[in-house]
């Protein structure tokens, strides 16, 4: 397997606060990798830095073998990595369709763009139904689907998902995770941040456990799930 993302010794600071300390992380093509850990562990900070939203204070990042450490958000998206941010951040006043139009705005081929739009509407029939409604009128789960679809419109090879299940009803959470699994089967590589460890471990190949900005454990999902110690200290109790 080839590595698609390689993060080395990443440090991210907010002024005096160090939110990510010396993190090493890699993702192989075709994998689902989970980043787990309690609230405030630095998960959002880490994926934001990977997506180019926050600068790394120290360390380096390579995507597809190329150094992306100092690239801006826009450039990283254009290279094939897309983040579906925590809290979804859909364009609330724009319609569903307009959200997708902006999502696909880096696509220069008109035909491919239309094709992608069709694909999103097939994958998420509800978005097709609501295509003319402002995004803010969608339910939380629908907004999450829109946020993911918006990310997919840029045809990423690596999709970063920050807490896709946050605040959603269990039935919707299942739906989102099934979708993640489907996307992987279509060949997409996914790095998913979750507090919902049990659900994430059921789908992920490997997991990193973050605590106070540091990786306290990295291993296969089975290993992480089997560790009572990790469950008790970092992952909010029972995992299975």
């Amino acid at each position: 397997m080839t590595t698609i993302l390689e993060v080395r010794s990443a440090v991210v600071r907010y002024g005096a606060i160090t939110a990510v300390r010396n993190v090493d992380l890699s993702v192989d093509r075709g994998e689902i990798v989970a980043v787990l850990g309690p609230n405030g562990a630095g998960k959002t900070t880490l994926v934001s830095a990977i997506a180019g939203i926050l600068p790394l204070t120290q360390g380096s990042m390579h995507f597809d073998g190329q150094d992306i450490t100092r690239l801006g958000i826009e450039e990283i998206v254009r290279r094939g990595m897309s983040l579906t941010p925590e809290g979804r951040r859909v364009f609330a006043d724009l319609t569903v369709r307009e959200n997708l139009v902006l999502g696909g705005s880096s696509q220069t081929d008109r035909a491919l763009f239309e094709q992608d739009m069709q694909r999103m509407f097939e994958m998420f029939p509800i978005l097709h139904e609501r295509s003319k409604s402002p995004a803010k009128t969608l339910s939380g789960g629908e907004q999450q689907m829109l946020a993911i679809a918006r990310s997919l419109m840029s045809r990423p090879r690596l999709l970063l998902l920050d807490e896709p299940s946050l605040g959603l009803a269990p039935r919707i959470v299942d739906q989102i995770f099934r979708l993640i699994d489907e996307l992987r089967r279509d060949g997409l590589t996914i790095l998913v941040v979750e507090q919902n460890a049990a659900e994430a471990l059921a789908f992920a190949d490997r997991a990193y456990v973050l605590n106070v900005g540091e990786v306290v454990y990295a291993g296969t999902s089975a290993e992480v799930a089997a560790s009572d110690d990790l469950a008790e200290h970092y992952l909010g109790g029972q995992l299975s």
Binding site: I73, E74, F91, D93, L94, V101, R150
Partner: protein
């Protein structure tokens, strides 16, 4: 009746002019949170672009109109590139001070290298004079100004609703980082906002200059003041607010001009500001307030 109609038309044309200027201020503010106090200088530079074109190239006077609009647009884009981009991530007060700096520098360059005195800029003949509708004599300029304002508004609406960069501008008013997350370049969105504000200022400048018949280095100040007041009146950060604020301000000014006795008509602006102050006491969020669905700024 004749008089009433003429004054209504006068109010609409002045109001339209204020609205164009206020919209330019509002659109830059909504996208990047900057109150561009150098907005008035766009009018000035549009005017001087006409003056210099005439001086050096001597084209037909009508050609000066696109020169003015283009000049103001290029000036706005240049302000962004040269002055505002370097301080984009600085605290808002830095942007504000930069805007004042730009304004002062432009005024002084014109004073030093051109002249403090006003320079004449002619208006095409067809824009002057009146035409008759039955018994009514109607100034061409006013009808034209109102019509052009409506056209500019239609164009703006199309841009904001039908183009990728327009949609991005509306989205950026709320969450700029999310716009960048879909791969749209921040520079492109902000540059477009400035270009739009420049075009709107340039259009207003054509009419402002055809009223005064001349340009001078400080001519941008009063229009800027009016645009700012219009924005505050309508609700700062709101595009609809800028439009409504501009029209209302124009109407109030013309109304006061008509009803005030001649010996205190000179204090008209004081009365206007008093009224605006009153509105803000009663309705602090402005006449329109925030209309998020139009892409208004939300703090």
């Amino acid at each position: 009746m004749d008089y009433f109609l003429q004054q209504t038309l006068n109010a609409l044309s002045i109001g339209g002019e204020y609205a164009l200027l206020a919209l330019g201020l509002a659109i830059v503010f909504s996208v990047m949170g900057l109150v561009n106090f150098a907005h008035g200088e766009l009018i000035t530079l549009g005017g001087y672009a006409m003056y210099f074109t005439l001086l050096f190239a001597g084209p037909p006077v009508a050609l000066l109109i696109p020169v003015c609009i283009l000049g103001a647009m290029l000036a706005a884009v240049a302000f962004d590139k040269v002055a505002f981009r370097p301080v984009r991530n600085a605290p808002p007060t830095t942007g504000l001070l930069t805007a004042f700096g730009v304004s002062i520098i432009i005024q002084n360059i014109l004073v030093i290298f051109v002249a403090t005195r006003a320079r004449p800029v002619p208006t095409p003949d067809w824009m002057r004079g009146n035409f008759m509708v039955g018994e009514l004599s109607i100034p061409v300029l006013q009808v034209l100004e109102f019509a052009v304002t409506c056209l500019a508004l239609a164009g703006l609406l199309l841009l904001l609703n039908r183009t990728v960069v327009g949609l991005a501008m509306r989205a950026a008013a709320k969450d700029f980082v999310a716009v960048r997350m879909v791969g749209i370049k921040a520079n492109r969105v902000i540059m477009t906002a400035f270009a739009v504000s420049g075009v709107l200022a340039g259009i207003a400048a054509v009419f402002i200059i055809s009223r005064r018949g001349a340009v001078d280095p400080f001519m941008g100040f009063i229009p800027l003041l009016k645009a700012f007041v219009a924005c505050v009146l309508g609700g700062f950060g709101s595009l609809l607010g800028a439009l409504v604020g501009g029209i209302v301000l124009g109407c109030v000014e013309v109304f006061l001009q008509v009803v005030l006795p001649p010996d205190i008509a000179g204090y008209r602006d004081a009365f206007v500001f008093l009224l605006v102050g009153l509105v803000l006491v009663l309705k602090p969020e402005g006449l329109v307030g925030k209309r998020a669905e139009l892409g208004d700024k939300e703090e």
